[in-house]
Subunit: 212 residues, 2 copies
Amino acid sequence: MRSYNQYCAVAKALDVIGDRWTLLIIRELTLRGPSRYTDLRRGLPGIATNLLAERLRELERTGILAREEAPPPVATALFSLTERGAALAPVLDALGLWGVSYMTEGPEPGDEFRAHWLAWPVDMFLRDADPDGAPVTIELDTGDDPVLARLDAGEITVQPGRGEIADVRISGEPHPVLGLLTGALDIAQARDAGVTVEGRAEILDRLQPAPA
Amino acid sequence: MRSYNQYCAVAKALDVIGDRWTLLIIRELTLRGPSRYTDLRRGLPGIATNLLAERLRELERTGILAREEAPPPVATALFSLTERGAALAPVLDALGLWGVSYMTEGPEPGDEFRAHWLAWPVDMFLRDADPDGAPVTIELDTGDDPVLARLDAGEITVQPGRGEIADVRISGEPHPVLGLLTGALDIAQARDAGVTVEGRAEILDRLQPAPA
DNA sequence: CCGCATCCGGGGCGATACTG
DNA sequence: CAGTATCGCCCCGGATGCGG
């Protein structure tokens, strides 16, 4: 991107990551870890393939990510964040916490959704009401790849769920699932909105709205 | 800007503030408070006038800032952040702290500078080594409008200096002034780089590199 | 002087097609 | 699967004009 030519920390940061799609690419690598080109494409609906390729080239040049030629069993390149790239997590967090307010009304027409994007709403809205309880996992199934929300020692984390068996499984459209998680909907209301809850539903009582 | 059409908190945030120049406009309003159009222009060297006008219109429409028609004595409009706009401060902080690493080598050819942009480097690099000491002020004079760094109760804040008399005054080129503040240069080295220190220079001993 | 609006050239972006 | 190639368009940058 064209430089702002300002000797200012914010402007210098934007010189590097201010291009369109750039921060969303870093979002994918932050949430999903080292990823293949095709996985990045799936997590970035709407991006043009040439733009993704060009951004990856530029981000490699500026030391934000690294391209690793994976060993023969995989036989494809993996893109992963460098230390400098991973240090952008606080930027994503601040943006995500600010942007969550735009999600409460539900998706706009044409919006795409991937379950792992729930990381920020969950982090924003939820706490574990029973920090001393046993670790439990909640599978969230909203159409694409399922993700697991883990409650452990009072912390809630969201990560791609790789075939693990969860204690409770929630499936349905993104907006009512989010509503159920945040407490905007109770289980009965969520069912009316097409959400199904399987397994130990009482675990959901451990989800507590985060303090404002 | 064109929407990413992703039901994701980060993408929704970027839909609103992802346009070029937008976050820098919010930077100016955050650092300087309610500002006139011309003051914004001075703090945003390189921006085209039509772009500034268009961004201000759009940011007003999305509820990030408000235009106040100032009473007759001023006879000009003031732009100020709304609550939602002010809530972007953590985003600027995260970006600024990440971007500071690009400033240590000094400005690139053609870089413009405004003293109030020092807020992030100071916040990043400095602590008050004598939290119980009396409040003191340091005037930083780097060519444009001077700013005041206040040390009070262990906190360091940077704000535009409005005619106040400071305990010590540092003037010179931005990079060596920054070097002196951060401890990369001692006073003798800074003088060699054209920096002048007037007043109670011993106050600078209270500046302590921030813990990594 | 302040606060824009208008015009125009160039480049970044978006969509699709194509290839090893 | 992992990109490259191409093309139209719109956003951006820079200059100028202009009413209050």
